[in-house]
Symmetry: C2
Subunit: 471 residues, 2 copies
């Protein structure tokens, strides 16, 4: 077994009992990334820097300085996150002329916990898309089926965890870019609340929706990374001072199912389980049955505006990146991939009034969702209506209509993105083609703890998160 297929808790134990070392793990990581280079999960690997950090972690641990479970473990960051001395290209040829002078705050915080940054993961160009089929850095491939997409935009981070290249990776999520690759690669991925995690040192896409979040093998591992990176940051004034309640101490490594007793789960009537691939619907239904058997109550709720949500998100998600890129779009249009340039050009066409109406709809939707969730702990939906799509698919059949991939991707993730609420995707089984299905657990603002605990409790009574891709 590849050690990096293990969980953080397992590896932390192995380091401390001498059965492995940070250096060994980094070397395994680098070899694994190299062996599976055809997946195009990484855009760069910092072998020397990672080995030096691993050696430093070992010397710290040897002298009794223990930074916690992540200490000495190899992790990766998406290519839109600053690491001092590295080029932050965000999967584009337009950015990163000079190396970053400072670490992003999230990188600083990971290093404070002793994590070792092994490399930068491939992403959809500029994070504007959901396939990670990048014209500059290569077509990323799903480790469960190389002919299918790893989703995006944090596709490389999803692959890197799924294929055991690293134990965890950071992604960014604007409209679903952490949760979608978590779903189709069969790993656990958390989008935190807007304002919970610093965006300082992260290339922006849509400034009212961008978040940084972890992809990891389990909800408990994602919780550990989230605990490390979350909280107010003076470098990002949009971060909030709401206290971070670390999820980790509340996640017993081999238990937690007891917390499902009395848990109140909402599902959206006539929405959440309709129009999906049959295997997606049945896997999520089975997961809900599992949660109910463990004592959770499932309640159908109505969320006003949920059917118009994606249309509104498409406006916000289109206009904000175009505002960011308008100058480069005018001076260097040929340096964008065709799909991204088209998206950005569409974003130029919306009126200010359409944008304001979308933002007002968003505020109204959030209030309605909050009211609908008042008596609930979390909301459960599929993460996606489908499993990994073949490369090149630009639209998908949804509710009997051909729907653009962008809109179809956001069907469920839009709920958290537009409300600003946290959401965790966890694997709930495989479809008939052996491709992972994801379930999305959405919580209230700043309540990542409950979301993570539900994911952990589910994983305490199921095995889906232990399945590995056939690479």
């Amino acid at each position: 077994m590849n050690d990096l297929d293990r969980t953080v808790a397992e590896l932390a134990r192995m380091i401390r009992d001498g059965s492995t070392t940070p250096t060994t793990l980094v070397e395994q990581s680098v070899v694994r990334i190299d062996d599976l280079a055809d997946l195009a999960a990484f855009v760069s690997v910092d072998r020397d820097g990672a080995l030096a950090a691993a050696a430093h972690a070992e010397s710290e641990l040897a002298t009794g300085l223990d930074r916690g479970p992540l200490h000495g473990l190899p992790v990766a960051v998406k290519d839109n996150i600053d690491v001092a001395g590295q080029h932050t290209r965000a999967g584009s040829v337009l950015l990163g002329d000079r190396p970053a002078t400072d670490d992003a705050t999230v990188v600083t915080r990971l290093r404070q916990r002793g994590a070792v940054i092994v490399g930068r993961t491939n992403m959809h160009e500029l994070a504007w898309g959901g396939t990670t089929d990048n014209p500059h850095t290569g077509r990323a491939r799903n480790p469960w089926d190389r002919e299918r997409v790893p989703a995006g935009s944090s596709g490389g981070s999803g692959i890197a965890v799924a294929a055991g290249m690293v134990v965890a990776a950071l992604g960014t999520d604007t409209g679903g870019s952490v949760r979608l690759p978590a779903s189709v690669n069969g790993v656990s991925g958390l989008r935190p609340t807007i304002g919970r995690v610093s965006n300082a040192g992260v290339v922006p896409l849509a400034w009212t929706m961008d978040t940084v979040g972890p992809l990891a093998r389990t909800a408990a591992d994602a919780a550990l990374v989230h605990d490390a990176i979350a909280g107010w940051d003076r470098r990002d004034r949009t971060t909030r001072r709401e206290p971070v309640h670390p999820a980790w101490p509340n996640l017993p490594p081999d238990g937690g199912a007891e917390m499902l007793s009395g848990l109140r789960i909402g599902i959206i009537a006539d929405y959440a389980l309709v129009g999906n691939q049959p295997d997606v619907a049945s896997a999520v239904r089975a997961a809900l049955d599992t949660l109910a058997e463990a004592g959770a109550s499932i309640e159908e709720i109505t969320v006003p505006g949920v059917d118009e949500l994606v249309d509104a998100q498409l406006v916000v998600d289109a206009v904000e990146p175009s505002a960011m890129h308008i100058d480069l779009l005018r001076t260097r249009p040929r340096d964008y991939g065709d799909d991204v340039r088209t998206h950005l050009e569409i974003g130029l066409r919306y009126t200010g009034v359409e944008y304001v109406q979308a933002q007002r709809f968003r505020a109204w939707f959030r209030d309605g969702l909050l009211a609908a969730m008042r008596h609930l702990d979390v909301l459960v939906t599929p993460t996606l209506p489908f499993t990994a799509l073949p490369h090149g698919a630009e639209s998908v059949e949804l509710d009997g209509r051909s729907t653009s991939l962008t809109a179809a991707n956001m069907r469920y993730t839009a709920i958290g993105s537009m409300a600003g609420f946290p959401g965790l995707s966890v694997p709930v089984g495989l479809d008939r083609d052996g491709l992972p299905v994801g379930m999305l657990i959405t919580g209230r603002a700043f309540d990542e703890t409950t979301v993570l605990r539900v994911g952990h409790a589910y994983q305490a009574v199921t095995e889906h998160h232990r399945l590995l891709p056939p690479v």
Copy 2:
């Protein structure tokens, strides 16, 4: 002397020593409004309701229930603020088909302090403009010179206080609509921090900039009204939970100048005192000299982006109202006044990207202003580059160029509107034509207390706020 030319503290004392009564004051108010009907300050007067409220206040006071200085005093509210049972028309023929069922939160809170709502004040149609020359409710006139505008959009509230019709009035301020009429009518007007005062029950204009604020004879009186209306409101989720520190107990009725000792005042180099009418510049300079003589230090600062600020505000201020009105604008365009329809049609033409860029500029400007004010208590500018303009003026000479009235009006008020910071306009003298000049004191977010204390201290050592218009 008209009793309503007195301050709240004076009238409160007179009520309690028996030299006047709430009923007497309400009757004086109604007579005064009627006598000066040509000023078109009010759109409706609720004589019966006000007399009943005055009688109720008297009976409460007689039984020892004292709600504080505002108890039994006649006040007015702008026509865009709900009063249960009255039509909220916002100076338009498009709204208010049915009477409001509930009081706006600010009205509820005024009533809790015992204030008596006498009537609704005239305003620029839908609050989209700065003249209060309203095609539906009449051309409001400046009490210092009937041939000049009372500014706007809360022009009626400014007149009502200046001409002694009420002791205080509520206005709303999006781009300057409380501070501008305060300036040209020679009264004190406060725009609170965004999120400080509830907008529940107030007709929106621009949802990211709208605030409710008081106009009153003095800073101390404005403080009393602000203390009454400020604070979190469950009916308006944009209100913040920052604690309200009542300014009033810290404003000694006949003193306060001692607080100027050590006060740090910023002025903006090459901006604040350039390009104004000479009398405006010299009155504000004299006021700064007065503050310096009393012990304040004056420091020239640089605020990045201040020269581009109005352009950005014009985008936000145009797009948001158009988003609000787009349906009515399509179905009933002829029911808007020509100027407002034109403004709203212009708002339709901006792109989403332009709007987002303006909002991003705004966030950047706010951060820069906060940094520039780090070692300061307040920032001082004129409120307006000019005194009251003649009716019909659509542009004004500014910095040697003809500038639209809308842009010229916002020259200084944009600072607080765009940053979301509180600002108080206080009278600092008359120009050669006998028209009031206003000085704008802008503070940091949620620090209305300092802004009000500076205004009060200035008024403790000067007499300009005692000047009355020659009506």
